[in-house]
Amino acid sequence: MDWINIIIQGILVGGLYALFATGLSLIFGVMRLVNIAHGDLIVASAYLAYGVMQLTGVGPLTSLIAVIPLAALFGYLLQLLVLNRTLDKDILPPLLVTFGLSIIIQNGLLEIFSANSHKLNLGSFEIESIHLMPGVDIGYFPLLTFAVAVAVVFGLQQLFYHSAIGRAFRAVSDDPEVAQLMGLNNRTVYASAMALCLAVVAVAGVFMAIRANFDPSMGPGRLIFGFEAVIIGGLGNLWGTLAGGVILGVAQALGAQIDPGWQLLSGHIVFLLILAVKPQGLFPKGAA
């Protein structure tokens, strides 16, 4: 039963990785932007939740009521005031600007909160679990994380394909010039996409911070997990991204069984193998 348990835990962690990834996938889909600071924004959201909890005394999940809109607002302004100015045919400026942002966020958090790690406490819910069979227990919290990931992917999918703003996202992605002729202000459409991305980032940050300790240096690692999930699943396919997160989670869980040092390594190796064998990802857009 050990292996079943390991795989189930891996699948559930995969939900968290999918949360890291969906925002990345979303903004790449809309404006071909890869935000190097994505992971740092996840960590910053965790600190934001920490701050809100300290200030108001609410629990981590309740703090999302404040953290999600604040993060979304930040994303909107970040896109409008900074990133929109870097969007051009040249990939260098957006890449290097978000790279600079990543360093600023990491060191800013270090300056404010020190290198000490923190954790957001959810109380007894964190340790309660469903006993499935001998040796297989499913924790409420990992299950909730996975359910939230599925809900986020489902919600984004609906928004993308069945709403006016989703239509605008797809239109500016297809042809930004003609989109303007339809009366779409590309800059605010991009800003809305980034706001949406940061809303998901906020959820990802809080769930990450409940699950385990976090510190200012963790951003790049979260970016890489999200990125691997996106590439494994196939660009532009949100359900694929969820599957990518699950594959990554399972690979890491199995690797950790071999040796704790192999946890991260086996995730990366699975990613590189898939890149070598199926560079378009397992579920490329349009093939589904």
């Binding site: 297809d174 002729l181 339809m182 009366g183």
Partner: protein, 234 residues
């Protein structure tokens, strides 16, 4: 004299460092259909793209209903009532036919055109409304592009290369529908390779050569040779 609906005075426009329009003047009256003819590279598309705000690098004056629109961004100009049906149709490939049309109504101007009205004009689009726009034939795609332009209920419709790449029978069908499209007092600037076809529907024409007007007037005012000379600059 009443100020024309659209008046352009001394317009210079640039492609990067290369100048494409040189001090161009143009006036479009309410309800008028103006044919814009000229060889490739004469600046016809640049003119339409300048009017709609897609060409940023331009100077001079563009007045619409007496107000200067030169400084306005493209997404605002369409809201003022100028719609462009771009060369090559350029439908949004990841949107269905109906979504393409709905996007045209993004600016939500009041007027006669609605999804219903467009489907009455082009019944085939109603059948294909759920289909991806990429699955349509060239003629059907052009219908979507025209419908998408009409959905904003414009005062001026700019049609760029209406018949380019379409089969003759499709071109004939689309031109047959043109009176229905312009019937509501819509003003149109039509860019067309097929000079005869363009002159047959136009109230007035403007022939361009190397970024400047080389001849303009009513189609009946000039002989075929005069127009050809203006077209080729001979």
């Amino acid at each position: 004299m009443v100020e024309p609906l659209l008046s352009i005075v001394g317009l210079d426009a640039f492609h990067g460092d290369a100048q494409a329009l040189f001090g161009l003047d143009l006036a479009l009256q309410e309800g008028e259909l103006l044919a814009l003819i000229g060889a490739n590279g004469a600046g016809k598309s640049t003119l339409l793209r300048s009017i709609t705000g897609l060409v940023k690098h331009r100077k001079g004056m563009i007045r619409f209903r007496g107000e200067d629109i030169l400084g306005l961004p493209a997404h605002v100009i369409v809201g003022q009532g100028i719609a462009l049906v771009p060369e090559g149709r350029r439908l949004f490939p990841s949107l269905s036919v109906e979504e393409n049309l709905l996007l045209g109504a993004q600016v939500a101007r009041p007027g006669p055109w609605s999804l219903q009205a467009v489907y009455e004009l082009f019944p085939v689009l109603r059948e294909k409304r759920k289909a991806p726009s990429t699955s349509l034939s060239g003629g059907q795609q052009q219908m979507v592009a025209i419908g998408r332009g009409l959905m904003s209920n414009p005062d001026i419709l700019l049609l760029d290369e209406l018949s380019l790449g379409l089969a003759p029978v499709v071109i004939r069908d689309i031109y047959a529908l043109l009176p229905k499209i312009v019937g509501n007092g819509l003003s149109v600037i039509l860019v067309e390779q097929d000079i005869n076809r363009a002159l047959s529907v136009a109230d007035r024409f403007l022939c361009m050569l190397e970024g400047k007007p080389s001849l303009q007037g009513k189609p009946g005012d000039y002989s075929r040779d005069q127009i050809t000379n203006a077209y080729f600059g001979t």
